[in-house]
Amino acid sequence: MSHAVPLESDSAAATGGPGGRGLEWFGVAAILMLVGAQALGLLTSPADRDMGHLQKIMYVHVPAAWNAFIAFFVVAVSSLLYLWKGQERHDLLAASAAEVGTVFTALTLALGSIWGRPTWGVWWTWDPRLTSTAVLLLIFVGYLSLRAFIEDADRRAQWSAAVGLLGALNVPIVYMSVRWWRTLHQIQSTPSTVDPEYVVGLRANAIAVLLVLVYFTMKRYRAARAERLAEQLEEQAALEGRGA
């Protein structure tokens, strides 16, 4: 069963799909927005009663965590779509979102650790949210290693779609099992649990990080498209006897 759907080999695919130059402008806007939102968060909010300025980590930690989950949701949905329809773009989108989601998850864990040391007194604690986030990271590191170890494009797409889907299916189960095992984490920061003074900064940063997520994912998607196109051209050249 072959899912090799010929890429639209027009210039849009070669330069990286939709938008062309538009994506670069979008990226600039996303970064500017992030800088602005960070400044807003840092400047407008007072020091927290208990944590002081340590609380400012929230403006990156919480948006990164939310957006990592969005990224993995995209992985799950595109994997399902790939298994259903067999279109290459869904596979490439899943791979791009998984890469960016993995980076965001790692960022979430690192920042949480930096925050936890002065607050809880430890770099790491076996708390449910922390532990299940680490497991999520490992599941998707496995997903990315699977992709790295397989050369055949159809096989890579088909297998990683199955692995991505099963991994996503496991996330709630892992979370539940770890929660029963240990409970310590403070209630996570959402606009409804933090003081109104922090809400604007948190919201603005969440949106800014979401835009960065979209930008990174699109950028990776373009690169993946270009890589696939190069692979196919090479194959074609080899078949026509022009050498690889």
Binding site: F149, L166, L169, M176, S177
Partner: protein
């Protein structure tokens, strides 16, 4: 009628895999001894204090089973690949799930036989006092093994056909098995410590849910991964 035929195919694959194993015994012996070896290493690492050993027994036993058992799964496809037998197997006019079911049952029996050797050794080495809870603890063992083997058989169908299969399978499999590890070791620990089912009940339900979800999911997904 078609279903009866499918069951016969499953049985044929189970019988074939187990016969291959019985005739060489190399895989089984290696895996069982590796399990015992890991238990011994845990004993050395955790020190000679009897109380500490007893508390760690359930977790150590499960880790020994996971680390030893994971070697069996790639082997079950590797033998097919070495003999060029996987493609003929796929060419038979039968639904693909029968292949997965056959491999799954054969691997499950294999792992249960390994457990039959490793568990008594763990009880002796870690000085476990098997109280009244030993029978439900065996049930937990079985439930945990079903989840472990379903995912192991599924992931091995990919890992065994890739480069770097030795490292890829544990990398994919172990993060997925964390609920199984937690639920099985917590449930068996509380059962062996003589706690009534109160504590273990939630874990057992989690194990059942995990088994149902991932047995179904791996059956469905196997169709997609075995063809390419």
């Amino acid at each position: 009628m078609a279903f009866a035929g499918d069951l016969r195919r499953v049985r044929a694959i189970v019988w074939k895999d187990l016969t291959t194993e019985r005739r060489s015994k190399a895989g089984f012996n290696a895996v069982a001894f590796l399990g015992i070896l890991i238990l011994l290493l845990f004993g050395f690492a955790l020190g000679p204090d009897a109380e500490a050993l007893r508390n760690a027994a359930a977790g150590a036993l499960w880790l020994a089973i996971l680390f030893a058992g994971v070697l069996a799964f790639n082997r079950s496809y590797q033998l097919e690949l070495d003999g060029g037998a996987l493609e003929p197997l796929l060419l038979y006019p039968a639904p693909r799930w029968t292949i997965f079911a056959g491999k799954f049952v054969a691997n499950l029996l294999f792992v249960l036989m390994v457990e039959a050797i490793v568990v008594p050794v763990a009880i002796v080495l870690f000085q476990v006092k098997a109280g009244t809870g030993w029978l439900p603890a065996l049930g937990v063992m079985l439930l945990g093994s079903v989840g472990f083997v379903a995912l192991g058989t599924f992931y091995a169908s990919m890992a065994s056909r890739s480069r770097a299969r030795e490292v890829l399978l544990p990398l994919l499999l172990f993060p997925m098995l964390i609920p199984v590890l937690l639920a099985s070791s917590e449930a068996s620990a509380s059962l062996l410590a003589g706690n009534p089912m109160r504590d273990a009940g939630a874990w057992v339900r989690l194990l059942v849910a995990f088994d149902v979800i991932f047995v179904v999911a791996s059956f469905l997904a196997f169709d997609h991964v075995i063809e390419v």
